[in-house]
Symmetry: C2
Subunit: 343 residues, 2 copies
DNA sequence: CTGAAAGCGCTTACAG
DNA sequence: CTGAAAGCGCTTACAG
């Protein structure tokens, strides 16, 4: 007994193994009679195709690799990961494709991962949370492996990607502060070796410019993408300019740090200084006061990543697909929104 | 050309396919001569075994399924997930086992996931973040599939598991508050349909009892495992007892909510009320003041989950393995620790 | 539309 | 210790 095979399905249905296979794979050229009896047999026996056997002949795997390149310790962005994974999982589910998760924590493991991915174990690869100029996406792509990247890919990598509208979101955030009558608006920059960091800075400047406000580099201060980084940056900014009345921080975590700094300096938020973060992560609701922030849907990004990859795999083309997802400003207490738990 | 096969390796090495296979699989009964020439050929050709072909005959998959049963929306515990995944990934890496992630977001998807897992697509399953009395672990186990659960499994499921020492951690937290001279110690309970919630409550009581402090049920108040839940619970507790001088919250997120409530009520933390959370998540460092909390290593849990599962798979036994991981109290500002960023 | 047959790349008794 | 051979469960030209 054990697990039923196609052979048994065919026998029960009274047809050849080839016909049974055609029905199972939805081939159109199958007689209605044959189809029905095979379908009945499948149900009766509880038949499920053996992936390995199928894979051996089709040379497909019905699986995609998902690479999280984040080294340990950069937990700050963790809350995103699961959301993205959820989205990918959802996007893959309808196709019965499985999600093979690859996390490399050491250069050694990274090499192993790359070997694994290039040896035809997966039909395509989704990469996200890339640091700096990671050569992996271009590398995979040049080997003919369908690849799509979450976020803007490293320079020089001619691969498909799905990104959030960082510019639009940051622009809206700064414009919101301006609309509140703020005129000395500082910014806490994200890492300038990450595309998102660079883009959010550009949007900050563009928004000031659009409003006719003067640019002043001393109102910009970067730091690590951490709470402490945000706190220190805010300390410095306050020291430079005691008249700052608003801050746009490139991440919620940095904004939370800035909040501490402002608190320590005796500034009231939002009365003295208004502040807006970016991510709209769980942190935005944990701070006191609650944090205005730019919302981005990481689950949607995951779903789009899956869709893009599936399209590339199906099309077998080498076209570069780009998708930019809308972001949205959520106003909370820290920039004058109403108190308490609005979602 | 294309990908080299065992056949080619054998030809280059001048041996039979069977011998080549034995070398690749590390069989001991192979002559040194044969071994060396095969190894050379493997390197020369860059040979990597075809998983599908191997799987077809061995009836193993070299993959384990990881199920995250968490429905969308319960993001609060997200930061854990990636850490656990990282641990699992690390634990699996040495064995070249792949991690197939299964996230089901609807009952429909859950059925599909279960079908997938029971059809021999994976060699074993790791489950975590189970809610209530999920029948899945027992179900899989009864079908002979190696299973290990992260956290205490649902009642009635006789399966292996890895858990954090919830009792020890909570006991230490409450004892710490007592040591600080606090005598009216309230607790914000976690969901009582989750083992962790029940155990932490029991530990709270045990600690009070051990110190000779009276038990008082009106000092216990539960709520959802959210920030708002914590806030509301604290509101109620303060209303019941204006003389509360300490709080043990069953999660950091609830503690953050309690902090807001205390703030709104004009209580100073830790001067008037000391507070300790549980999880030592990123939230503990985002609050103002920083939050004392019980640390648990979710990455370690992941690693142990992988190890346990691998053992079960190898042993082919049905033994129930239990591992309890140490937790550790981290004292920060909210209970009298020194200010600012100690890790 | 349907079936007989070849073959995907590997492992593993079975002999020797 | 080594090799010839069978067989894992499936798909897919190829004929008809």
């Amino acid at each position: 007994m054990g697990v039923p095979t196609l052979e048994e399905v065919a026998r029960v249905a009274g047809v050849s193994r080839a016909s049974a296979s055609r029905v199972v794979n939805g081939s159109p050229s199958v007689g209605i009679q044959v189809r029905q009896s095979v379908e009945r047999a499948v149900v009766e026996l509880g038949y499920v195709p053996n992936r390995a056997a199928r894979s051996l002949v089709t040379r497909r795997n019905d699986s995609v690799g998902v690479v999280i390149a984040e080294p340990t310790g950069r937990i700050f962005s963790d809350p995103f990961f699961v959301e993205v994974l959820r989205g990918i999982s959802g996007g893959l589910a309808s196709r019965e494709m499985q999600l093979v998760l690859v996390m490399s924590q050491s250069p050694e493991e990274e090499r192993r991962a790359e070997r694994y991915l290039t040896r035809g174990h997966v039909d395509g690869v989704i990469l996200f949370s890339l640091h700096g100029d990671d050569p992996l996406p271009e590398h995979l792509h040049s080997q003919g492996i369908p690849v799509v990247v979450g976020g803007e890919p490293p320079r020089g990598a001619r691969v498909s990607y799905v990104d959030n509208d960082n510019h639009g979101g940051a622009f809206a955030a700064v414009t919101h502060l301006i609309d509140q009558g703020r005129i000395r608006i500082a910014t806490i920059l994200g890492p300038q070796d990450m595309p998102a960091g660079v883009t959010r800075r550009r949007a900050y400047r563009d928004a000031l410019r659009a409003a006719g406000l003067p640019l002043d580099e001393s109102l910009e201060k970067g730091g690590e993408f951490t709470r402490e980084g945000g706190q220190r940056a805010m300390d410095v900014l306050l020291q430079r300019h005691s008249d700052i009345d608003a801050v746009f921080a490139a991440s919620d975590l940095m904004a939370a740090g800035a909040l501490s700094s402002l608190h320590a300096a005796g500034r009231r938020v939002p009365e003295d200084v208004a502040i807006v973060g970016f991510d709209d992560s769980i942190i935005a609701l944990s701070t006191q006061p609650s944090l205005s922030s730019v919302h981005q849907s990481m689950e949607l990004m995951g779903r789009e990543l899956a869709n893009s990859l599936l399209q590339t795999i199906d099309a077998r083309d080498r076209a570069v697909r780009r998708v930019v997802l809308e972001t949205q400003l959520v106003v909370r207490e820290s920039s004058g929104g109403p108190p308490t738990g609005q979602n």
